[in-house]
Symmetry: D3
Subunit: 248 residues, 6 copies
């Protein structure tokens, strides 16, 4: 089984971190690699950056399909481009917000999300609703640390997770950024409830879906997009009869 | 007051149609223009195309800000890139799905959405939920006609709208595609309940928000994105200190 | 276009205030007048008063229909009698709670309502639910100032709006009383997020619906009521074959 | 214990029917009487009529308070004026829609409402939501028979109830009109699931609340309304310091 | 009419208390007795104990059916085994959580539940959702006193109820344990809003359903279970053709 | 890693089937065994049988804890006793309804449940709500075949699944009975959308949680139950200081 974890931003250190985190939890016999786009923002902390990360993400899906990848994990907590990616991929595509929330709801009854900047909590709540966890999610909190600085801000992250447990009554915590992946264990030790990293959760859930032989229906919402002309800078992204996506 | 309606696809005839539809309903003294991106898909009928339409849409927002535009209408029923656009714009940005649903819920009690292809109904339902109309929307129907062929498929559109009224009990119909704008009056005459076109609805609602002096809070979710490096094809879309967005 | 704003209480100063607020935002060419009933309570701060304000409101709708008014705004935050009014009127009827919530949800993501007396918050929450804003509305707060004293209580109103922003995370505020209309700008300046007055919002939204040519379906829930005998004090309010409503 | 059932319309035969239905189910020792207003519509089949029935209903509550009535049932399926009545009454006030839905949800898992005219289903659904039965209520159906003709339309009522059971999967039926009270047993025999009449349900639930010693909190939403001037036709309904309501 | 209140735990003093509380509110002519199982836990403070209380509860239902009991109240706030009991009983079965929440929502607008141990609040919230009171219930609080010690912890109970009123804005309080039944009046006096004990509420509601002649549909979800072999310790609990349940 | 799948009924052939289905999807290195209780019903098709299956299920959890099992799957679609089991187990416990719904919502947008007897659909819907899939689940259907006869009723199962796809618009189907496990592949081939068997889904999800190191919080709702006396037939199930559960 070949899983690919895609970091939708262009920061190499984060791609490496994500790859390590995914490989730790994969089953024996599962090949996991981690890639990043050739274009787009250095990190994703706004709707604007999320939108501009998607073309590069889709390029990586197209390349993965050519290589026969079995399933993908999109490693940004806004789950950018996941629906679009599903139209290109033959196998499952899971976002790390989706994966982490599913996992948290399987071990706890009321989870909290603890993320980076407050400005991203609107998107997080939107995903909570989309995935059906409105009742299960008791709070979305931000520790107000930028994505690329999160590694040095462990104490603030732990503090915010503790507040989620003590003030909101959370019995599980979802870490709201791929950059927090390697802090998961240490935060869990300190807060005393299960703490979920979406990169690891996405890896095992994608692996699970492949093991079950599940892939989106070939018709309907996630069918391949209709052949269509693409112009300007994005020429090269069109869908053609002879090649699902022809990335320049 | 200067309103700009942005067609997020690259089909000129559709941009012209959208501009006409918007100008019909604007108040005296409101200047309305219609533009389209320099890049992207010819029409939007999938998550994939929607995602790839957004960079060009954002480019148009950046250009509009340089010109002092007061408010924007995004004229595709998936409301692509609306949140990202709000981070760039000083004034209001409204999607036509959002606008049409708000208008429908102000004149009826139970509206139905009638859109183009069945594969887009998932996105339409997602927007129904996001905007709070889960109880107000009794059905999302598709007439299975592609966006660029809708003008010649009036009979199928009317049939589907009639089913919404007779079978689903809708007392208002929302047309689910910008390309249906000029069919609104004739469809309304035939189905006997109010029929709402989002291009017109977006125009008057954007105008309303400007008249009220309302614009998103300068802090919080829709604050300008942080300065950030952008690489690859999308270089030129970075946010800089001296210019909000520097489109190449 | 002829819009009529109806103050459902019998206090002349408030009718004048409401008229001024509405005219400020109306488009050129829109005639706006403001009226009040010949019967009913001096202000509305309970379910009891709201119920007794409705006959006088309906009387004004009947008079407006005789004059050919195009649309109505009901200027009390409980939106009293709006559904009944829709059965009498040919054009749109909007309540100011409905209008303000719609406008707030178009510029912010999470609005709060700040109203007069705590005893009215139950009705406000009921309207939040009815209009679909259960997720969008993060708080309903009261500043515990009576309707007719609100003009002298600006500081308390500003305090409560600030709490909505700082404690509840609201990024927009809806003012929960028609009597607050002229405080809207000053409160907005102080709290730093968009603040919405329902009288102004109702005016531009009613105007928008008329511009769109939208009016409730002639059949169904808002069809004219069946002809029916009315006895006692309320005789004169019956629906007759030759006149929709014969107000004594 | 003294219960009063108020028919909010002015048709004597219906008041008599309602009184009989209530007395059948009351416990030994409970005095039940049935009254009707001195003003208002002959029957209630629209929002308009519902609104104009409320002053007369409130008059009857005020008279009942003077007589020391312990609890009230409002016998119209739109539950008109119930919140206003709670502000005047010391004891509980229950609407028959509320009562019937509570009772149905205590014996079945998925109830349907079967009412008179289709135009009243919007109000019925609104009450379903208000009382928390959105998930429990699988359908709101109308048999399109006017209120005052329902007694002669038993077959159509039975047909519609059967459809609720067979097509909607209802395992309980709520009759959506006080005028259906005496049809309850016969309909129940024919459709094979529990059928609930709100007049009877309201009687036993009001009796239950009195037995429990429960009455609305003296402070808060249902506190007596503030003293207030009332003008015009409705003078006489003002709240005064020396008398809660002075009905002319 | 013969009502039976079943204490699902095996503590005699609690059974006695429950019987007294039920008899106080029953109507003249209603016979109320209180029983307890022959097996199971001494008190119920976990999912584990709740599960193990159910066989003994079902045994009591089977015995009651042999005696011709008309309706049952299950007197533990987790409403254990209520659906299973409904399949055995010909008449209504009500849990005290269900009963108390229904009663509270008939007199107040926003109730809070105050229960024993924090670990049981998950189950309480689940029941709030199941019964449709998600919007009506503003808080579920625990006073962290074990079930069998609640009688000596009146002050902590009152404190927690006061917080529900003052901090959560509750206008009614539901007591979350059968063991609190006799504290209901005194707590109500101290907190100033209606306080509901589920044992009393269950008694009057069960009595109400019998008076209405309502019992679950004989087909569908609550039909008698299919005849089935039962093995091991639970042999004797099988359903047989000649006897609904043959308890050893 | 040692996973245990518990068939909560006492039919050996079904335990064998469940074991086979689980082992097919487990990763290399994961030991999976399948067990059944020493007491309880031969199959589970009612609330009554579900309740009586739980003691035997809990006995198996207690035995598994003594053996050091890492995680459990409860292989009955009603997810009986799952919360109680979580209090006894150190590792994760997943029900097959929960597992199947999570998996379906990861590959499709709108799933349907197709189960055995119509009488069990109430419980299925309750679980849909509990797990947050109210919006994701478009229908719960029954093919009216008893659990132990399902293997010979493939055609009826396929028919019902097809109706879910064609009439309800489902793009994924959840099989609502452990006995359907080996029909999953063939049904999937016939209906053309992903079909999910909960036994397999539970196995890979339980395995995933163990790989992530996630287990319920040691405090809170799923903490070990308090030490407590158990009497009668169920003596031997008490929680003691020296042994978590002492099954006789």
């Amino acid at each position: 089984m070949h899983l690919r974890v895609i970091n939708p931003n262009t920061t190499r250190a984060m791609t490496d971190l994500i790859g390590r985190s995914a490989r730790v939890v994969a089953a024996p016999g599962t090949l996991v690699d981690a890639v990043q786009p050739t274009m787009g923002p250095a990190s994703i902390e706004s709707h604007y950056e999320e939108a501009l990360a998607v073309p590069g993400l889709l390029e990586q899906i197209a390349l993965g399909e050519a290589e026969g990848v079995d399933a993908y994990v999109v490693a940004c907590f806004g789950d950018p481009g996941v629906d679009a990616a599903r139209e290109l991929a033959r196998g499952p595509v899971i976002g790390i917000a989706q994966a982490a929330m599913h996992a948290a709801s399987l071990v706890g009854r009321r989870f909290a999300v603890v993320t980076t900047l407050g400005r991203t909590t609107g998107r997080a709540r939107e995903l909570v609703d989309r995935y059906g966890f409105r009742d299960a999610c008791v709070a979305v909190r931000a520790c107000e640390v930028p994505v690329l600085a999160i590694d040095g801000a462990r104490a603030r992250l732990v503090d915010e997770c503790r507040r989620a447990v003590q003030q909101d009554g959370a019995d599980a915590v979802v870490l709201g950024c791929a950059g927090m992946a390697e802090l998961c264990a240490v935060v869990g030790d300190e807060v005393g409830v299960p703490v979920v990293d979406g990169v690891a959760a996405g890896t095992v859930l994608a692996q699970s879906l492949v093991a079950l032989g599940l892939r989106p229906a070939a018709t309907g919402e996630y069918a391949p997009p209709p052949a269509k002309q693409m112009t300007g800078l994005l020429a090269g992204f069109e869908i053609r009869a002879d090649a699902p996506v022809a990335v320049a």
